[in-house]
Symmetry: C2
Subunit: 359 residues, 2 copies
């Protein structure tokens, strides 16, 4: 097992990465001892790992319940949230209770938000079981549900007490989910570490084949980058925004096609291509670097072209994005592999970058 | 104008107390300059002060909208919350936007919670227009909505950037609302400052008559006590719990009779009598001190007896209270006027304290 730390003063927490962490884990067991524990998961993940986590934590906990929601992005909604909160109330969970988010990014966001607002906040633990969640969404305390008018528009910053990334859970991932996770791995390299981007490109065949050691290494390297950014800027007033590279375009694809049609990582993959193209249009990035990034994305088995909507349709889903300020969207652009910055961009250029990468 | 500060490091904020703060207020105007501002209020308060705040802030703001919800505790619900969030999205409010809570405790809790979760948190300003909100709920960052299974069960700690307590707004308060506010004034004296409790008792006729100077003095003294407690213990892991004196009983009265039948302050008034009686039963408080407290409460025009339900009915609404730990309720008891502490109490004694003060 490797252990990293997100350094946030009295809200610092450890991230464990390794195989078998859901089978033996004294630290996790100690954390839940004598507490009421709610494991929030979806029906698919529950079938795979629900029993395992109950065997690990059940004997130490005061009580342990499982709250099982339907799989998929559509579950990040008011109804599922209220169902979780209602169950916690019915079971008389108090402020000392603990919520475990067992699953991918959807579960982490939903269960984390429930923990953030139940009785004004209870502890929670992230147990990410997808590559996307392990390398990205489980670290940093962003929680949210979607609103019919926009993705992640209702949420909270609520840091977990612990992140348990068991590499063994990745073996069960379908290839499409694995590829979606690689999008965020590539993103971390693209914005922060050109050498890491090269290593990922080289390891791509092993990563796509689900090689445990290669994946664990990518998880550790990605988390190291993300944890460093989050520690600098917990609430995204500055550097943390760079982690949204590709996401403004990606959100438009997800929202415009109805949440759940595109996987988040797939939408981000196309978004990164568009953002790289925008960087070239702005004169910030060499076109060879854009081409190289696109090639790495494609080699991960990810899409590099968005739905063939008019650019205006994309733009209509961008202007209320959380990164917008008074309707003028900001974008994260690349200056070189491993170096990104935020800038306001004329919507005309954005439309060009979109039009060049659709259909 | 008097100004106090809640000292919470980089989340510290000023509290302004005085007459005319909604007519001239350079600090408040500067805070909203060039920002999108949503004034959340109820129809009753809007009719009284909506125009005034729009005249004060409108010229400086980038845009200003008013979101008007129905008055009353029933408004602290999912539906009203979603209506506010939806409106903010329709108006394309971004993360730099600011929410102003204009009204009593219900509005402060609801609008504050909306600000806490809109795009993972935007700034908000409390403009309390009732005595209850000025002396208590507007300070400290507690926000929440009610759940059918319990009061304030869903919420967040989200500190305002500024509290504007315009004493002029209290002139419009009906006597019943004024009395409800005095319950929290009395509470602050009872738990933290015996001398203040004496001064309040002495000033009671002027306070009940709505004397501006007497009220402003009570507001300043109460806020000073509350701000000190909050600065020590922002998230209620220790000393802040003492501010809940009378509230466990009071919540049972509010929840058991359907939110809105009893005003919060009225329920707390009876709750304080029950809690003082419990303190006597435990041998912590002299019975003369309990009698004195009950007399001060009665002199404020507040009820001192709860609904004539069986004690078990009260208890059924207490065990899932947020202050409960694994079903054993904790209570704040008095050791003397001005001195309180938390202790776990046998439910049998609690039932006795209830039964002695109902009907």
């Amino acid at each position: 097992m490797q252990q990293l730390t997100v350094d946030l003063g009295d809200r610092s927490y450890p991230i464990q990465v390794g195989a078998g962490l859901l089978e033996e884990n004294p630290f996790f067991v100690d954390l839940v001892r004598d507490r009421s524990v709610a494991v929030v998961t979806d029906s698919h993940v529950d079938a795979l790992f629900g029993g395992r986590i109950e065997r690990l934590l059940g004997p130490a906990a005061h009580q342990l319940i499982r709250i099982v929601v339907p799989p998929g992005e559509a579950t990040k909604c008011w109804d599922a949230l209220d169902r979780i909160l209602d169950r916690l109330l019915v079971e008389r969970f108090d402020r000392q209770s603990l919520v475990v988010a067992l699953g991918g990014g959807v579960i982490g966001d939903l269960a984390g938000f429930a923990a953030a607002i139940y009785q004004r906040g209870v502890d929670f633990v992230q147990v990410p079981t997808t590559l996307l969640a392990q390398v990205d969404s489980s670290v940093g305390g962003k929680t949210a549900i979607n609103h019919p008018r926009g993705k992640n528009m209702v949420g909270a910053f609520h840091q977990p007490r612990l992140v348990v990334a068991d590499s063994g859970t990745l073996a069960s991932l379908p290839p499409r989910e694995l590829a979606a996770g690689l999008a965020e791995v590539i993103k971390h390299g693209a914005i922060a570490d050109a050498g890491y981007l090269d290593r990922v490109a080289e390891a791509m065949p092993r990563l796509r084949a689900g090689d445990g050691a290669a994946l664990a290494e990518a998880v550790v390297d990605s988390i190291r980058i993300k944890a460093g950014v989050v520690a600098q800027d917990e609430r995204e007033s500055g550097a943390r925004a760079l982690l949204n590279f590709g996401h403004t375009f990606g959100h438009a694809i997800e929202a415009g096609s109805g949440y759940g049609q595109w996987l988040h990582g797939e939408a981000v993959a196309v978004g990164m291509v568009m953002a790289a193209d925008l960087s070239v249009l702005l004169g910030d990035l060499a076109s060879a670097d854009r081409d190289r990034l696109r090639q790495v994305i494609a080699s991960a088995g990810l899409p590099v072209r968005g739905p063939s909507w008019p650019a205006a349709h994309y733009l209509s889903f961008m202007s209320i994005d959380k990164k917008a300020e008074r309707g003028t969207p900001k974008f994260i652009v690349l200056e070189a592999p491993g170096r990104a910055r935020v800038r306001k961009v004329d919507p005309g250029l954005v439309a060009l970058a979109i039009a060049a990468n659709t259909g």
